[in-house]
């Protein structure tokens, strides 16, 4: 597969602050890369270097094989970029703004209008196309930014928090749009909303303190989680002791955790040994012992927890 975005050992500092220490990554055609990390981890700075808005101190960014530093104009032709906060000229309307973008992108006459209309339609902006952008809601403003980025159907799309501040319907719409475009583009999406990674990304890269600390599919990341495939059972406090003992001796169970009693119920969590699946065994055990269960669920290992675990542990190792 063709590598469309390439970051080669990017490094950037702002005065004494080292924003990006060392980031290398490749994104191929058809991939949607989720860029994850806590605030200030260097996500936006990395994106700004990939798009040529900032020059890296060292290292190199390439878009479709074109060096962003050496041939910026050519590289930018191949690129659609939604900057953080989706800035746009507030005194223009979405239509006039997109007309301007289309002209800069080299479209003329009929093809200009066709591209603008298509971008307006894809992002659902037709109804507000003649209102001033500054009067639009946050969701619409974001969509204007997205429309601007996809207008020329670029092979590479880089979006900094495309769904930040959108309502659930709008998020769904934007994710649909990303998935729809994914197959013939390389897309990078930064976010700190982890469900988004599960929803749209084929790959996730977690960065922290300007370095990549994890790289894999959403599934891979979940698997790193301690609670992955753990089984949580909520039972009456009186039954808890008996159940905990029974769970502890099950073959696949590594350990059993118990939470405080709330309203006379206790929540037990059986953690599996690596790779083991214990849901069926726990179910059978509950039936055999005829314990009344209030709640039973298999924990997937929330990506949130994975995220917290990865980013806080890397902080720990750094200070150690």
């Amino acid at each position: 597969m063709a590598v469309l975005v390439e970051a080669d050992r990017l490094r950037k500092s702002f005065g004494p602050i080292l924003a990006v220490e060392d980031i290398s990554l490749k994104v191929e055609k058809g991939e949607v890369l989720g860029f994850l990390g806590p605030n200030g981890a260097g996500k936006s700075t990395t994106m700004k270097m990939l798009t040529g808005f900032l020059e890296p101190d060292t290292g190199r960014a390439r878009i479709c094989g074109i060096s962003v530093a050496d041939r910026p104009k050519e590289a930018k032709v191949k690129l659609g970029y939604l900057p953080e906060g989706a800035p746009a000229y507030g005194d223009m309307t979405p239509r006039s703004f997109l007309n301007f973008i289309a002209e800069i992108r080299g479209f003329d006459g009929a093809s200009k209008f066709a591209h603008v209309d298509a971008a307006l339609a894809r992002t659902g902006l037709e109804s507000v196309a003649t209102q001033r952008i500054e009067t639009l809601s946050k969701g619409y403003k974001r969509r204007v930014g997205i429309a601007q980025a996809i207008l020329h159907d670029p092979p590479v799309l880089i979006m900094d928090e495309p769904t930040d501040g959108l309502d659930p319907n709008q998020k769904h719409h934007v994710r649909g749009l990303i998935t729809e475009m994914a197959k013939d583009k390389a897309i990078i999406v930064s976010t700190h909303i982890l469900e988004e990674v599960e929803a749209v990304c084929t790959r996730a890269v977690v960065i922290d303190h300007g370095r990549i600390v994890a790289d894999g599919t959403a599934e891979d990341l979940q698997r790193r989680m301690h609670y992955h495939n753990a089984v949580a059972v909520r039972v009456a406090a009186a039954e808890a002791e008996r159940l905990a003992a029974a769970l502890a001796v099950l073959a696949g169970v590594a350990s059993v955790e118990r939470a405080e009693a709330i309203n006379g119920h206790i929540r037990l969590r059986a953690l599996p040994k690596p790779g083991a699946s214990i849901a069926a065994d726990v179910g059978a055990l509950l039936r055999d012992q005829s314990i009344v269960v209030e709640e039973l669920l298999v924990e997937r290992g929330k990506l949130d927890d994975v995220f917290r675990e990865i980013t806080t542990s890397s902080e720990g190792s750094r200070h150690a």
Partner: protein
């Protein structure tokens, strides 16, 4: 060139899309007229020329041009649209020239709208219209030089107030450098060629020359080199911000 024009067009649209353009034009036209009639004693002089009208232009520009220029880059930086603009397939130079031209054309429009003064003086007498045309050209060039300074300063900050004050101060010094107030300060200790050099930087001297109808090559060269120099500095500042 195409990109420059696209940016100029957008910027010009932005002026007229906000009250800024109308406020500016009305105040500019009103003040130039008021100065000419009340302070310049347009009628009392009894002469059919626009000298009292043009002689206040440098002072008006001192106030109004930095007000136009302050937003050129500071606003883009503040609103974050600079990130959008600079990741479009255009060069820094195209963006700078495009924005500068838009502001310059805008001031040109305001200047053209002072035509009732020209009509008035032609109704009242027989002025030398060649001199008036030369004065308009000189005034326009001077506005361009102020604007280039303002644009350059505007790229340094995201605060428009700072951009305004710094640009107005620099422009003020450039205007004043021909006057004894400034020259006297240097004359006491600097060699005469430095004093002459400072005097030759004066907007006022060049403008007075042109508004007497003398368009000399050195004066044209002076204004154009100021424009080119500050726009070039502007480009360096914008590029520098990328690496910062």
């Amino acid at each position: 060139m195409r990109n420059v024009w696209i940016i100029t067009k957008r910027e010009l649209g932005a002026y007229f899309g906000t009250p800024l353009a109308y406020v500016f034009v009305v105040i500019f036209v009103a003040l130039t007229g008021a100065f000419a009639f009340f302070i310049g004693n347009f009628f009392e002089r009894g002469q059919a020329d626009l000298q009292p009208f043009f002689s206040y232009h440098p002072w008006l520009y001192l106030l109004l041009v930095p007000a136009i220029a302050m937003r050129l880059w500071a606003e883009e930086r503040k609103a974050g649209t600079i990130e959008l603009l600079m990741t479009l397939p255009i060069s820094t130079g195209e963006a700078i020239v495009g924005k500068f031209l838009a502001a310059w054309i805008f001031i040109g429009i305001a200047l053209v709208l002072t035509f009732p003064m020209w009509i008035t003086v032609n109704v009242l007498g027989n002025p030398d219209n060649g001199v008036i045309l030369a004065s308009y050209i000189g005034s326009f060039l001077m506005a361009g030089a102020f604007l280039a300074i303002g644009s350059c300063v505007s790229a340094l900050t995201k605060n428009q107030v700072i951009a305004f004050i710094v640009a107005a101060t620099i422009c003020f010094l450039m205007v004043m450098s021909g006057l004894e107030l400034v020259l006297g300060f240097f004359r006491s200790w600097a060699p005469s060629f430095i004093v002459d050099a400072i005097a030759s930087m004066s907007f006022l001297n060049h403008f007075e020359l042109i508004s007497r109808g003398v368009i000399t090559l050195p004066s044209l060269f002076f204004y154009f080199s100021i424009i080119v120099f500050f726009l070039f500095a502007n480009a360096i500042i914008v590029e520098q911000r990328k690496a910062a």
